[in-house]
Amino acid sequence: MKHNNIIKYCLSLAVMIMFAASAYAQQAFKGNVVDEAGEPIIGATVKIIGGGGATITDFDGNFTISVPKGKELEISYIGYVTQKVSNFKNAKIVMKEDAQSLGEVVVVGYGTQKKAHLTGSVATVPVDEIQDLASTGLASTLSGLVNGLGVSGGNARPGETARISIRNANDMAAVGSSETSPLYVIDGYIYPIIKVGNSDRNLGEEAFNNLDASMVENISVLKDAAAAVYGARAANGVILVTTKKGKQGKPKISYSGQFGINDAVSHPKMLNSYQYGKLFNAMAAADPKKTYTYDNILHDRFQADELEAMKSLNYDLLDKYWESSLTQRHSVNVGGATEKVNYFGGLSYFKQDGNLGNLDYDRWNYNAGVNVDLSDHFKASLSVSGDYGKKNKPLNKVGGTNSEKDYNLLLTRPYYMPEEVDGRIIAAYGPSNSQKNANQLYSFSALEHSGDYSNSNSNNMSVSGSLEYDFDWLKPLKGLRMKFSYSKSIAQDKSNEYGSSYNAYYMNTRFGSGEHLYTPIPGVDQSDLLLDSNFKLANGGTAVSNGGKDGYGYLSRSMSRADNYQMNFVVSYNRDFGKHHVAGLFTIEKSKSESEWLYGNVQRVYPFSNGQSNSGAPQESGDMTTTFTRSEAGMLSYVGRINYVYNDTYLLEFLFREDSSTRFAPENRWGFFPSLSGGWIVSQEPWFDNVKWIDYLKVRASFGLTGRDNTTPWMWRASYGMDKDKGTIYGTGDSNNSGNRISMNKNNSAINRDATWDKSYKANFGIDFNVLNNRLGVNIDAYYVWNRDMLLAHNVSLAGTIGTQSAKENWGEMDSWGVELSLNWKDKIGKDFKYKIGINTGYSDNKMLEMEWATENIYRSIRRGHRLDIGTWGMQCIGMFRSFQDIEEYFNKYNITSYLGMSKDDVRPGMLIYKDVRGAQQADGTYAGPDGIVDEKDDQVCLSNRSNPWGFTTNLSAEYKSFSISAQLSASWGGYSFVTSQALKPAQSIEFTNMPSFWNPDNMFVYEDVVDAQGNVTVKQNLNGALPNLAYSNVNSLTSNFWRVSGTRIQLNRLTLAYKLPSTWIKPLGLENVRLNVTGQNLISFLNPYPDNFMDPMTSYGSYPALRKFTIGLNVSF
């Protein structure tokens, strides 16, 4: 597409331009607009039908307008039925609430549309309902509010955000789709995904999450081919956000604030010291065929005196350090407008403290803008918005970099181990008194007091300006507008880390007859064990580094900056001709993004480091490194849309977008994405008046194409990496570097110049109807998506002699479909009680039609024509070996030769019995019958067909006078869950890992009495234990039906109680509105399927739990 195409588009635009004229004369009218309760409506639009002026109602609902003779007025306000006024005698105008908000205006890409005129599947988020929720990111507040919009994560660690997925686009991750997030468009600005450093950052997702709810005017979700207006990036759906602008009238200031407490929904229940000790013994003595000497019974088991003492030991470190935390959110918004100028500004602050140590997140947001009428037909606008966020995290790099380490290790540290003995930090050495894993060196208190930090700041700013010119002065071109806009967004990030080192100790000899305890046995004097000489440095005698090398500290800093801009030139046309409404739009859009990243780190820093690189004490050349990178991307697009509406009954829309991106080769850069949709508002037909029981009925259908640029940038052309080292050596002498080489690696060798956009053909059919006197509104959307030319790799079918991995090619095919059903019941009982019940439910599924099918483990792989979610596969448990005779019988009965890699001699009572389901895969791909070999590869069965396919969310609200209540309840069912494997085996070693409470040794299989060195029975024989012996967790923790639990979930997600102060109280104070509320989030999970209810289904075992939040909120406006 070159310049000449522009002309083509401009011509087609010209066709849409029609001629019209009108004339007018004057008559003044003063009116007052109120709602059904008699309260004034502020800001309602009063417009002369057919043109000639408009105004807005003031603080008291009053307005004045000069009406030309013979003309009528139209009064509209969001949420109310638009009224026509032709009787100018009655000044009082009572607006009726619009049961289904049909007059509502909905933001669709590059403009707005009346909700009534929508033909596609465009959902709007009830923005009012998220105002009371305090959350790190906006995304997590949306859960359950929009049908077809899934939200995951985002309610645990402060600063972590949720991810949104529209119509289960995230399912495609199963076939290697890297982009499953929707496209985010905020105030017309399309946020790109951009590579920063070595990772892709979805700037849209970040910007969306950083928005404060109070600044949001509305959020639309484009779920079907309506998204084609965003073309090549719209296949995962689009989220459109409009932020608040000033409203006509005197300046309005509003404040909203929340203050609240966050606490864990629950922590997993763990074994107490005594139970842990017994469990340890039962495991240590699990193998009846092993011979135990006195010495190893003494040292490898807890002795009776120790167990007795452990009954009173309870060093629950998680309980010690976990605190409920505070969260607060404040926002102030100011806005107003005169005829010529419209201005607004807002500032908000959010802060969430952490529950564990140095962990918190806070964020400032601001936005401000002004729209000015420079002359009658020439408008300009300028706005700026941004946020400044700061996140502090503990730096947990002892023994690895898992960010969940703090919570996990506090949770699983056995309760008999104190954190410190005699003022010394104690490594979590277990009965063997040796180091099994570096995690044993982790000390929460040492890190907490060390001054170590991991801070990150993000600073995002967007500036945008536009000029708009309308041709309303020129009769033939009336309705034509021309607009140029430019937006720039700059995202900057910085993160600093500092890790120091500390000494951790172990005790050479410990208390108790088996020397296992860190605390004295009551009545036994062993005070000599507290002498200095008994404490040895753990970690092989070196200090424990939090990220550095060899007992030293470490520093790093990274900075990034991403600069993006987007330029639009828009021509739009919007005009009514009698019963014909015509609208058109054409835009040229150009955008470019670039980012740079700088990273440096220093290993081995002095203990007195000031945090700067000059405080390092590098010893080797690799101890200081610096990296910087840059990336660029650009897009050019042409967008067009034509809408036609006849008599508010027949709706037609055609739109297209032509996109080009540097992600693809120049000749494959362009993609054309059209969409056609239509609607029929049946209830507008004159004959429909006979159908009394349906108040409103609309059917609509859409079909169109969207794209997905699911590829590695620059994959289309040959490129080479640069390696500084490990090249060849040439030259005489002994010290020539093995220096530079310019390499082709896995990724940059897989070139496909022919790659182009994934294509996603979307069809949607919808019915909206209201019955029972508009009290029940029903929306049904059924959709079908044909994903074609999906960029997928070949693996098996790619000849090895080609010498590299497959480049992604456009060849995958997948269909997905679903039905979404929303029911909204809205009614009043009496004058003062209003209530609403909304139910969202649906069903979706998909099938893969073309991809590279697995050739191994076919039976539990994605198969042609089947869904991507292959369910959960695991072993089929048919009991537990409770005696050697059981083992003998089982091996004989099924002719078993190998049981999970073990011969019969190695199998022990206390192991679960799995069935030998099938034999090895044969050359033709089928599987042989049971082969006497039980293994994970060939013997899995389907334990759950898929994750919960059924479910619904109910949003309830009710108002009584000044009181209101709202709640969200959700339920899902149809699949199974499993006890997480983390709870089924100690992470590294039982020596320093406590287990969940259901591992109570009294319920566990124990082959024979476990005695201590004195012959005392410490754990009784338990041949009927319900649980297998934990010692054999390699066998027992495999996914199997033994650990399968119900997947049904019912939970109360949120509840808000609010009270609105009567206006009679606050009016005298000059206040317009004062509202108080109490909100709770993540409240109750009604079903707990887990053994001993050891964890809550809302949380995940071993990592930072979901937080239950209670906030008190205040909204004031004046």
């Binding site: 522009i6 000029l467 140029f484 690799g622 490129s719 030259g731 090895g800 010498g803």
Partner: protein
């Protein structure tokens, strides 16, 4: 206000026009990588690309032979299939048969490795080389620069294909960068086509590199080590010889020998013009010291194809280190080496006597005359070929190095400049001593303790008496940071290849002349022990060449290739399932072993030599470690004189160690006395025994001469033909259909 409107509108229109130009997209760059133009239009860029491709092709001393590396002389899968080392490799294991299936008995995969990773695949490195060829050809470098890069690239492509051909015969010939898309498939070419393609690349390489290298080698010292026209032609000789060898030439087609001979004769001049020759040919020194110096010499005319190393420490970022682990590997533990490499008794016993002839006990190569000098296995160091002393180290020999392995805590007895190897052993218990079936635990003298070896391999050692140290020695790392080169193709091999081709072509006197050159370099004179019949008896001449290769190239990773080439495991008599009649060996009387007088390796065993303290000294028993008691150091060695203080406990017992830089004769007498008095040779179990302790014997199956593709390689290349004799995974395990001998 109107004006403003006009300006505004004009601005909008102009921005509209500006914004709809697509040009800005073409200016955007991928900063993560270098694009093709920069890589190939720039001389340094192209060299960087070459370095990347070549580094994956270079022989490397670190590794067990694999898809990537050939054998470099360690006790690896290849060398353990020959006389050189004990221990059954998978090729000769009598208890397991290799199959195409993945698992414990899988055939080694020299064909594919990881299919989807360009850096970890046989075909990835070929792709890389093809990319350079295409990129440089299309690029804008000067003709000379292009030739310089391309000449080297063609060599390495040929090197990759040579390594495939020697195992598989014909393979797919991928000559360009293929689009990584489904449906692109390259079938196996015939062996002849493969061979011709290799030769073509090598000739191209030689021609392109001629202006740079045929005037005495690369002009700039920093290019030393790069391949030359001579390297290409030397490899060409190897390929032609392989093509003429019985493995591929079952009917003994004379024209192949003739071609090999005449081409190699012609090419030898060009090889010489690149500055290559026998190092120290005119200065053999004493006890083959000139020969020993050759392995670690810098700027070395012997090094026709060489991998260079440096002594830079590893672990930095960037990591410029590339160290040769050989010296560390062969040195005994009391030098802070890794413990040493132990030769088999067979290998020690088959080396020529000092007259250049095979010991009479070694009844192989019987077409060549045996020596009249009696060989005494209990003192293997008496009267041997000069190369024996530089190939093996034995108890009582000086083996100096630059460094001091002692800290206060060790009992390592010597500093490097005085280092003597004493490595006789004793037992801790009588049970161990009397257990013949299994190698009981032994303890060696001079702090070797349980790491002692009966004999050590000394070949290629950076001997401080011969050449300066090319390593940085330290207590922490020993010999680790070592810059000694590895020579994959030595000038001596060029001559031996030529000699063999000449012998095969019937030009026996030409062959003998080459053998003489080789032998004169190590100090032989006159007829160099090469009998007159070699010039007339073709079988004897070929046998002499193969024997000479085995000696000259011992522990350089070449022997297994020679054995396969000449089918020396069974003489080529055993049949492969499904093989056509064309596989029958019809030349050489139908049995190469009989023809050469060689005793087939199948059904033989290799044992380990041990020199142990005679029972007369504390029944051959001693301690298992040094101990300090009452301020006195107790030496566990039963020969140590407990009345004297450590380390002077051997005064009057041990003679001075043999110094190779002096005449051997007078020194060996004292050593002989020591051996006769104190220690005795025992051959202990080298190759394994079965679970009933019965002896096992080498079994190399005939199908191993041409390897089959493994399951992974097959499933990565659906549609490829499997080699005859091996099951085809893609075809339900049916016998393969590819015939490496078909033309």
């Amino acid at each position: 206000m109107k004006k403003l409107q006009y300006i505004g509108c004009a601005f909008m229109f102009s921005m509209a026009l500006v914004s709809c130009s697509e040009d800005f997209m073409d200016e955007l760059q991928n900063y993560d990588a270098v694009d093709r133009n920069n890589a190939y239009n720039n001389y340094d860029g192209a060299k960087g690309r070459l370095s990347d491709a070549v580094v994956n092709c270079m022989p490397d001393v670190n590794a067990n032979p694999s898809w990537k590396n050939t054998s470099t002389g360690s006790a690896d899968d290849h060398s353990q299939s020959t006389e050189e080392y004990c221990g059954f490799s998978k090729f000769v294991d009598p208890q397991k048969e290799m199959t195409y299936m993945s698992g414990t008995n899988a055939v080694p995969d020299y064909f594919q490795n990881q299919a989807n990773n360009i850096k970890e695949s046989v075909w990835g490195r070929i792709r890389n080389l093809n990319d350079i060829i295409e990129g440089v050809q299309e690029g804008t470098l000067s003709e000379a620069e292009k030739n310089e890069i391309l000449g080297q690239t063609y060599f390495f492509r040929a090197w990759c294909y040579y390594n495939l051909m020697k195992w598989y015969g014909g393979v797919p010939l991928v000559k360009e960068v293929q689009i990584p898309a489904a449906g692109i498939f390259t079938p196996r070419s015939t062996t002849k086509e493969t061979m011709e393609f290799i030769i073509e690349d090598l000739e191209k390489s030689a021609e392109l590199l001629a202006p740079f290298t045929t005037n005495g080698g690369w002009a700039r010292a920093e290019d030393y080590g790069r391949v030359t026209s001579g390297t290409a032609l030397a490899l060409k000789g190897r390929v032609l010889l392989l093509w003429a060898s019985p493995l591929f030439n079952r009917a003994n087609d004379k024209t192949r020998w003739q071609t090999a001979y005449s081409e190699m004769k012609k090419d030898l001049e060009i090889i010489n013009s690149c500055g290559y020759g026998l190092r120290n040919e005119t200065a053999p020194g004493i006890n083959a010291s000139g020969w020993a110096e050759m392995f670690n010499a810098d700027n070395n005319e012997e090094a026709v194809f060489v991998t260079l190393y440096n002594k830079i420490k590893d672990g930095g970022t960037p990591d410029y280190s590339r160290n040769n682990p050989w010296e560390r590997g062969i040195r005994p533990s009391n030098t802070l080496g890794n413990g040493g490499k132990e030769p088999s008794a067979t290998m020690v016993d088959l080396f020529p006597m000092s007259d250049g002839k095979r010991p009479a006990q070694y009844n192989s190569y019987t077409t060549v005359k045996a020596s009249d000098i009696a060989y005494d296995p209990t003192k293997p160091f008496l009267n041997r070929d000069p190369r024996f002393y530089r190939t093996f180290a034995f108890s009582g020999v000086r083996w100096a190095f630059e460094g001091d392995p002692n800290t206060s805590a060790t009992y390592n007895p010597y500093v490097g400049s005085n280092y003597e190897l004493w490595s006789y052993v004793w037992y801790n218990t009588a049970d161990d001593r009397d257990n013949v079936e299994q190698s009981g635990k032994t303890y060696g003298t001079d702090n070797l303790l349980d790491k002692a070896r009966g004999m050590y391999i000394r070949k290629r050692s950076n001997d401080a008496d011969v050449s300066k140290a090319r390593y940085d020695y330290s207590i922490d790392a020993g010999f680790k940071y070592n810059a000694c080169p590895f020579i994959e193709l030595r000038y001596a091999e060029v001559l031996l290849n030529f000699a063999e081709a000449a012998a095969g072509a019937g030009e026996m006197s030409e062959a003998v002349a080459q053998l003489k050159r080789i032998r004169q370099r190590v100090g032989y004179t006159g007829d160099c022990g090469l009998d007159a019949n070699l010039s007339s008896d073709q079988a004897a001449c070929l046998a002499a060449v193969l024997y000479e290769r085995q000696i000259e190239l011992a522990y350089e990773g070449k022997r297994f290739d020679d054995m396969r080439r000449w089918m020396l495991f069974d003489g080529g008599t055993e049949k492969v399932d499904g093989a056509p009649a064309s596989w029958n060996l019809t030349g050489w009387g139908g049995n190469t072993c009989t023809y050469l007088g060689f005793k087939p390796l199948n059904n033989q065993r290799r044992e380990r030599i041990e020199f142990r303290v005679r029972d007369t000294y504390n029944k051959g028993l001693g301690g298992d470690k040094f101990e300090e008691k009452n301020g006195k150091i107790i030496n566990p060695d039963p020969l140590a004189d407990a009345t004297k203080t450590y380390p002077n406990q051997y005064d009057g017992i041990r003679p001075a160690a043999v110094d190779l830089s002096k005449e051997l004769e007078p020194q060996l007498t004292a050593l002989t006395t020591f051996y006769d008095t104190y220690i005795e040779r025992i051959d202990k179990t080298g190759d394994g025994r079965d679970s009933d302790k019965a002896l096992l014997y080498i079994k190399y199956l005939p199908k191993y001469y041409f390897l089959g593709l493994g399951q992974g390689a097959l499933s990565n290349n659906i549609g490829i033909q499997q080699t005859i004799g091996w099951g085809d995974y893609n075809n339900g395990g049916a016998n393969g259909t590819f015939d490496p001998l078909a033309e």
